[in-house]
């Protein structure tokens, strides 16, 4: 089946982002397809490439990045949520002279159309927030 996930929660502050990550891995392990992962609201913080995490703790942002890259998952960060929270791709960072991108390249910064597209083309949409 085709799954899409919507993540509304920032990493660390609640369990939801890590719940979503475990669920995503389980979807793939069972041979299902992940059509899209969509980070919305505070969820966009999961795409930050600036996190520094102690060795004995989970680096959730990096885990998302690795999962997305390893499985070539279509990952989208909602643009209107991301900009105001300082989650920027290189183009936005350049446009505002803010140095390097703060978002991992593995996620695309795009609009809500990508969420609706996911709802239309997936068999199941699962929300984590």
């Amino acid at each position: 089946m085709k799954f899409s996930l919507v993540i509304y929660a920032a990493p660390y502050s609640t369990e939801s982002a890590s719940s979503a990550l475990r669920f995503a891995k389980s979807v793939l392990e069972q041979g299902h397809e992940l059509y899209r992962v969509f980070f919305f609201g505070d969820g966009v913080h999961n795409a930050s490439r600036l996190a520094i995490v102690a060795q004995d703790e989970l680096n959730l942002q990096r885990q998302w990045d690795e999962l997305i890259v390893d499985h070539a998952i279509d990952s989208v960060v909602c643009v209107s949520s991301a900009l105001r929270r300082g989650i920027l791709d290189q183009a936005e960072a350049d446009r505002h002279d803010l140095g390097q991108a703060s978002a991992y390249e593995s996620s695309e910064v795009a609009g809500l159309g990508q969420l609706i597209d996911a709802a239309i083309h997936s068999d199941r949409v699962i929300n984590f927030g």
Binding site: V6, Y8, F40, G41, S80, S81, G111, L112, G113, L115, I116, D117, A119, I120, H121, V125, N127, G129
Partner: protein, 129 residues
């Protein structure tokens, strides 16, 4: 044949949005509204339910500017502007909160628990926040 000649419009899916948050205190009311408007742009079959504390979004005379926010009270108008007509207010929530029709934006349809249940049951996808 018909499907072929219409191949440029996206497939039609029924999406129900259940908005359960009061305005301003959290930004969930905005997230929910933005998702529904995007769905309407994609010409999906959209229903919108103000449930629980979500009915507070329907109070007349809100002034978001008092706390530096955009006013959310015209959500109903916005929904209608985007062609979303299946908009409902949770009857039980209105009663429990002692909200009278005169306190609320005009043109509201109320909905009871059974009808919300049927709406959720018959939808392809439900966003609930």
């Amino acid at each position: 044949m018909t499907a072929n000649t219409r191949s440029k419009s996206p497939p039609r899916s029924s999406l129900t949005f259940v908005s359960r948050s009061a305005p301003y205190g959290r930004n969930r009311a905005n997230l929910c509204l933005d998702m529904a408007l995007a769905a309407a742009v994609f010409e999906q079959d959209v229903s919108y339910v103000f449930m629980g504390d979500g009915v507070y979004q329907l109070l007349k005379g809100q002034e978001g500017s008092a706390i530096g926010s955009k006013t959310l009270g015209n959500a109903l108008e916005t929904l209608s502007l985007y062609g979303i007509e299946n908009v409902y207010a949770d009857q039980q929530a209105l009663q429990e909160r002692g909200l009278k029709k005169s306190d609320l934006l005009s043109g509201l349809q109320t909905i009871d628990n059974d009808a919300i249940a049927k709406l959720i049951d018959s939808s392809d996808t439900v966003f609930n926040l």
